[in-house]
Structures are given as C-alpha cells and as structure tokens.
Amino acid sequence: MIRKSIQSRRARETRLKIYGITSICFALIMLATLLISIGLNGYSALQQAYFKLDISVNTEKFVDDSGAPDNNKMNLFNWDGLVQSALREFFPEVKDRDEKKELFAIISANAGYDLKEIIKKKALGSGSHTLSVWLHLSDDADQYLKGRLSIDIPEEDRRINNKQIAWVNSLVERDIAKLKFNKTFFTSADSREPESAGILGSVIGSALTLFVTIMFALPLAVMAAIYLEYFAKPGKITDFIEVNVNNLAAVPSIVFGLLGLSVFLSTFGLPRSAPLVGGLVLGLMTLPTIIIASRASIRSIPPSIREAALGLGASKMQAALHHVLPLATPGILTGTIIGMAQALGETAPLLMIGMVAFIIDIPTTFTSSATAMPVQIYMWSDSAERAFYERSSLAILFLVAFLISMNLLAVVLRKKFEKKW
C-alpha cells in the first residue's frame, strides 16, 4: 500500500515537471513560430524586380538661357512618356489603347519620376546621352516574379492578367527584367507604391524621437532617483511620489498618448506628428522605468562607500555625485537601454499624437512631420497591396534584430560591470 502511494506521489511530481517543460516548450515554440513566419514573409523584400531601359536624353532641353540646369523645365518634361515609349520598343505588337494601358501597368507608376531623379543625380554634361538605367517593375509584377502571387486562381480575380504575365516573362527571358537587391527599401521614405517605399524615413523619425526621449528622461530620472534615495525625508510626500512612480510604470501606454494629445498638442500648441512631441510622450512613459532601475542600481552600492566619503568631510551632495553616482552608472545605463528599447517598440501613444500620417519626406528637424518604425510597420500591414506585407515583415525583422541587440547589450553591460562588494 505504501509503495502504491509513493508511486502516485512520484507520478504527481513527474506530471508537474512535464507541465512545466511543456509550458516552456510551448512558449519557445511560439517565439520560434513568430520569428520564422515573419522571416519567411519578409526575406523576399530584400529583392525587388527591376527592368533595364536604354534611354537617350538630350540635356539641352533642361537648361535655361544661361546654360545652367533648370529644375522647372526638368519637372515639366514628360518622363513617363519617355519610359513608356522605350518600353514599347520591346513589344511592337502592342497597339491597342487598352492593351497599352495594361502594358504600362507592369512597370512602376513612379518609373518616370525615378528616371528624372537618376538623371538629375548624374548631372550629365550638355548634349545628348544614351544611358541604360534600372527602374522598378510594378509591385504586382514583382510579386509574380517572386512567386508570391498564385496564378492558379481565375484570371479575373488576379491582380495581374495572363497577357501581363507573358510580357513580364518575355522581359525576363530577354534578360531585361530581373530581381536585384532592393536598395530603395533602405534609402527612401514611405510611398503609395510599394516598390518605391522604404524605411529610411521612419528610421530617422525613430532616431529623432528617441533622441528627445533620452535627453528628456535620463537626466530627470537620475535626479529623481538620487533625490528619492538620499535626500527625501521619509514622509507623506515621499510616499506619494513612490506610489506615483510605481503606478505610472503600469499605466497603459495609450493613456500617455491621450495625455500628449490634450496637453502637448491642444494646450501647448506643439506641432502634430513631430518627433519632439513623440519623444516627450515616450519620455514620460519611460521615466518611471528608468527611475526604478536607477534607484535599484544606486541602492546596490554599499553604504560604506557613501559613509567613507561623508566621514572624510564630503557633503551629502558630494558623496552622492562624486562617489555613488559613478559606481551606479553601469546599472543606470542598463536600465536606460531597456527603457529605450521599450520606447522604440512603442506604437500606440504615437498614433494618438498624429505620427501615423503618410509622409514622403525624410524628416530633418525635431518639429517636421515624421513617423516611427513601429508605426510604419502598422501602416504597411494595414495596406491592401500584397507587396507591403513583405516590406512590413522585413521592417519588423530589422526592428526586432535591433531591439534584441539593445537588450543583449544591456545584459552584457550588466555582466561586465557586475561587482560583488
């Protein structure tokens, strides 16, 4: 009987262990599924379908009377026509109006604009030039070439019809169209056309926002932490501050967005969609995280160090700033990195203050309209075009890789500077 009961008691233990291992495995498998599914979706956005055009232009057309290049004339020139007529040379059989329209749909709607920019950048001398340029195919042709558009479904349900497929295939056979590294993704800002959309605008927006966040939150948090650890007299005010700090750390991030909307935008009248406002809101949000981490770090410095300083005649302020703070710096930095990683991944408060706008320009100042990386991901995954999904996934991969390396840096810093007193 005793043996039986021991057996069942042991079985219970084994079961508990199995529950634990299953749970951990489930969590790890989910992590792997998440990353792998996004990776599989996103890797193909590293490539983009381009086609090569041989184009002859006469730069005399774009100079003013004195011979200097004239942007106005350049903008007025019919670049789309130039691209289209060059494309038609490959398919002389296309005559019909509707057919022509279908043919032009396989190249990017921005092809003319891109050509203009390329030629502007080349700064050609005067005279006529023949050059071969690589321009984007349309997102549908691009998705077809990557095998992302299934051609088994009926033609009328497809975004690309049989004729267009034949044209794309013939371009590929003639070695005119091919998949190349997608440089545009890393060098341009958002666009209505997936093939011209890139993450640079949102990366710079995020960088500007985080700069404001760290400049705002770090000094305030460190000063608050020093105050709470060394100068605060125990009492109601101190207790109240502590309760507030702990609570703010658990307030939903969207509430900070509402705060930013009603205080920074409508009361102070700061500009909408600006990294300045985004940075302040995220700063308020990460402030408690950094305060808590800084306090923990300051508290881990043995009191003997401070007491030795005080004993040698240093004032309380000198003991705190000259002796404790330098030793607590690694811990504070670790907390700051974790707070910044949190701020970098945050989306909801930024939606509230209008950083969700469609912005084609790369932001240059703290008050210019901008968007941030997670918001860009959100906007792209909300779009109808299939090609935006893969761009969204690729952007996620970059964001997650960056965040993981930030967190790893924090772990390494903690390990390196960890001291046993």
């Binding site: 658990a250 939903p252 409508s266």
Partner: protein
C-alpha cells in the same frame, strides 16, 4: 536680424560657462585682496554663477518659445475676426492656417489680404525671435554680473549651490506626481465635456455603441450612441482569453524554472523568454492579424464552425503569448522569494518536491502570484496594438470567442486617428473611454502592488 533658437541657446550656454570661470578666478582674487581663504572651493562659486546665469534665462527661453507663437496666433486670430466680423470660428482658423502657410512659403496665393497678413505674421515672428534672444541674453548677462559682484569669500557658496541642486532634484521627482495629475485632469476635463453632451449613465450602462455622428448637420443619420457595455465586454472577453493562455503557461514555466530547472537551463530559458517580452506589440499585432487569425479560421472551418476573420480568440491567444513572459518572470521572483526554510521544513517531514510546491510554496506565494496576475490583467486591458490590428471595430454584445468584438483601446484609436475636430463628440467620447480605462487599470495596479508589498513584508 534673426536670432534662431539654437543660436540663442548656445550663446546662453557660452555666457553661463564664461561666468563660471569668471567667478572661479574672481573669488580667488577677492580672497587674495582680503588675504583671506574662501569658505568653499572656488569651483563652487563658479557653479553658483553658472546656475544664476543659466537657469532663469533658460526658463524664460522655454516659456517664450512655447508661449510666444501661440500668443501671436491669438493676435492674428483676433485681427482676422475684427476685419471680417461675419466669419465663424472655424473659418477664421482656416484663414489663419492659410496665412501661416503662406508666411512659411509652404503655399502661395494670389489673395492680396492674405499676402499682407502673411507679411505681418512673418514680421511678428521675426520680432518675437529677436526680443526672445535679446531678453534671454541680457537676463543671463545681468544675473551673471550681479552674482559675480555679490560673491564674497566669506559666503558659503557650496551650501547655497547644493540647496539649489536638491531643489532641482526634488522638482524632477515631483514630475511623477505632475504626470499623474496631468493625466487625470486632462482625461477628466475632456470627459466632462463629453458628459455635457451625452448622459453619464447612458455611457456607463448603455448597451449600444455606434459612434457614427452625422457628418453634416442636415444629414439624415442615426444619432451616435455611446453605451460602453459592449466595448467593455469585448475588452474583458479578449483579456479573459489571453489570461487562459498566459496564466497556466506562465505559472508552470515559473514553477519549473524556480524549483526544478538546473542553473544551465535557467540561464538559457530566462533570457530567451525575455526576448518574447521585448518584442514590440505591433509585431504581435501583425502576427495575430496575418498568421493567427487565418489559422483559427481554417481550424474552425474544418470543424464546421464559422469563425470571424477578426475573431476575439485570435487576438486573445496572441495577447496571451505576449503576456507569458510577464507572468513567468514575476511569478519566478515571487516563488524564489519564499524562504528556503519553508522548503527544508516540508522536505524534512518527508513531502515530495511536488507536495512541497503544491502545499507549502504556492500557498505562501499566493498573494504575490495574485498580484502578478492582476498586473498582467491590467496589461491585457490596456494593450492596444494587437487588438487594433486583429480585433474588430463593430461593438457586438457577445461572449462568443469566435465572433468579432471590439475593445476600449481599439475604439480610442479609431476615434482619434481620423481627422476629426477636437471638440467633436466622437473625439470627446474617446477621452471618456480613456478615463474609464485609466481608472480600471489604476485600481488593478494599486491593488496588485499593495498585495505584493504585503508578501514582501511578511518574509522580510
């Protein structure tokens, strides 16, 4: 003459640094003249001068930079209204916006009046920038000179500087209080304006949520109705599903990690789970909308069930995955905080490890575990991006996890991301929801924190 912000700031900084060195060397000279010693280190006198020169002028700069443009806008608003007394408010704002854009050179116009106003506007701004720079620099110079003149070797500069710095430190700590107060006040006042337009009890107890207000006043359309029960129910449903995933998995992981795992496994699993916690919520939202939702739909289809493409279960399950590391790391800390003596006592009486866990450790840790779960619930209720991307917009009064429901945060986002006016009832209703959300999570947090603190005190 234009004085841009960065120029003024750097001149201010430069002046302050100058006064630092000026005072530092000045006090030594003064002491030498009196053949006396300075009471504090010379650098303390320098710091005192720096603070005097920098802080007040910097505050003036801040106020003028934030308040100045608003003041000018107000002047021009009044001017436009005086010129055209018949225009209504929104039209005047429109003209003002046009004037501002013309003066920035963002748009061009042929209207004479606007060009004139834009010119005036530009001049006003230039004047503002000029006087801002002048006032700030003069103030810094004046205060710096006064303090350098007044400093005597006998005065204790260190004490004064330190007192001042402590006050600055205190002010930064008080920002936490200010933030909370600002959140409450801003949500409260906007919500109050909403309750002026809409009955409070209809909001709290209403069973119908459809914030579609007529766009034009003459349009025949249903009045918007703002009963938050269906929205709240949707929030609770999704949070409940998330908890069904997160609590068992998080707890069992924590128990295994704290009681059974070898240090090697712990060192691998803990950071890996932390990666799960570090992934941005927008990524989970993407995963929920594009992978999990079709997956559940497929499964439902094969079982003959009709699963909505924005089902509560997809959003809830993914949210649960997001919360697993949150619960597991908090519970892990709580379980490890249970004193070793309890474990040893139980084992010494012949209990197995499982019995020790079930009968001794978990009962001892229960307050902390409840606290962790409550914090997780508050997190689930306030979570935004997953539900914005994967849950629905229409407020169905249902507890069926296969249907589409909406949540408080989804409604706030959808009401505030459109181009609506700030005093529109839809915009204001979002603040009503925000207030409800804030208080709900606040109560949960306070409760959770007080429970956990009680546990910590018990075993200290």
């Amino acid at each position: 003459m234009t004085l841009p912000l960065s120029f003024v700031f750097f001149v201010l900084l430069g002046l302050s640094v100058y006064f630092y060195y000026h005072a530092k060397s000045g006090i030594v000279r003064k002491a030498a003249l009196l053949s006396d010693r300075t009471k504090a280190l010379p650098s303390h006198y320098g710091q005192q001068s720096f603070l005097w020169a920098f802080i007040p002028s910097f505050l003036i700069l801040l106020v003028l930079t934030i308040g100045g443009p608003n003041y000018i806008d107000q002047i021009f608003y009044n001017k436009i209204q005086e010129l055209n007394p018949t225009f209504n408010e929104s039209f005047v704002s429109l003209i003002l916006a046009k004037v501002i854009n013309v003066s920035n050179g963002k748009i061009s116009t042929g209207e004479e009046n606007i060009i004139m106003l834009a010119k005036d506007y530009k001049i006003a701004f230039e004047q503002l920038h000029f006087y801002r720079g002048l006032v700030v620099i003069l103030c810094a110079a004046l205060l710096g000179m006064i303090i350098s003149y007044r400093q005597k070797p006998g005065s204790n500069a260190r004490e004064q500087v330190e007192k001042f710095i402590v006050n600055i430190f205190f002010a930064s700590a008080v920002i936490a209080i200010f933030t909370t107060v600002a959140i409450i006040l801003s949500l409260f006042f906007e919500a109050l304006r909403f309750f002026n337009l809409y009955n409070f009890f209809d909001f709290i107890f209403g069973l119908h949520w459809a914030p579609n207000v007529a766009i034009r006043t003459d349009q025949v359309a249903a009045e918007g109705s703002f009963g938050m029960i269906p929205v709240l129910l949707g929030t609770l449903l999704i949070s409940f599903i998330a908890m069904c995933v997160a609590i068992p998995i998080g707890l069992f992981s924590a128990i295994y990690l704290a009681e059974f795992a070898t240090p090697k496994i712990r060192d691998f699993v803990k950071p890996t789970l932390e990666i799960l916690a570090g992934i941005p919520t927008v990524v989970y939202g993407y995963f929920a909308a594009l992978t999990a939702a079709p997956f559940f739909r497929e499964i439902g289809f094969s079982l003959g069930l009709d699963v909505s493409s924005e089902s509560a279960i997809a959003a809830g399950a993914v949210m649960g995955i997001m919360i697993i590391p949150f619960i597991s790391s908090l519970s892990d800390d709580v379980i490890r905080a249970v004193p070793q003596s309890l474990r040893d006592g139980s084992m010494g009486l012949g209990a197995t490890k499982a019995e020790t866990i079930y009968l001794v450790i978990l009962p001892a840790a229960i307050p902390g575990l409840v606290g962790a779960v409550l914090l997780a619930v508050s997190r689930a209720i306030g979570e935004t991006m997953i539900v914005v991307m994967a849950a629905g917009l229409s407020a169905n009064l249902t507890v069926n996890p296969l249907e589409s429901v909406t949540t408080v945060t989804v409604q706030i986002v959808s009401l505030l991301t459109g181009d609506t006016e700030f005093d529109d009832i839809k915009t204001l209703s979002a603040f009503g929801l925000g207030l409800a959300l804030f208080f709900f999570t606040l109560l949960l947090n306070i409760f959770a924190l007080s429970i956990s603190r009680r546990l910590a005190e018990r075993y200290d």
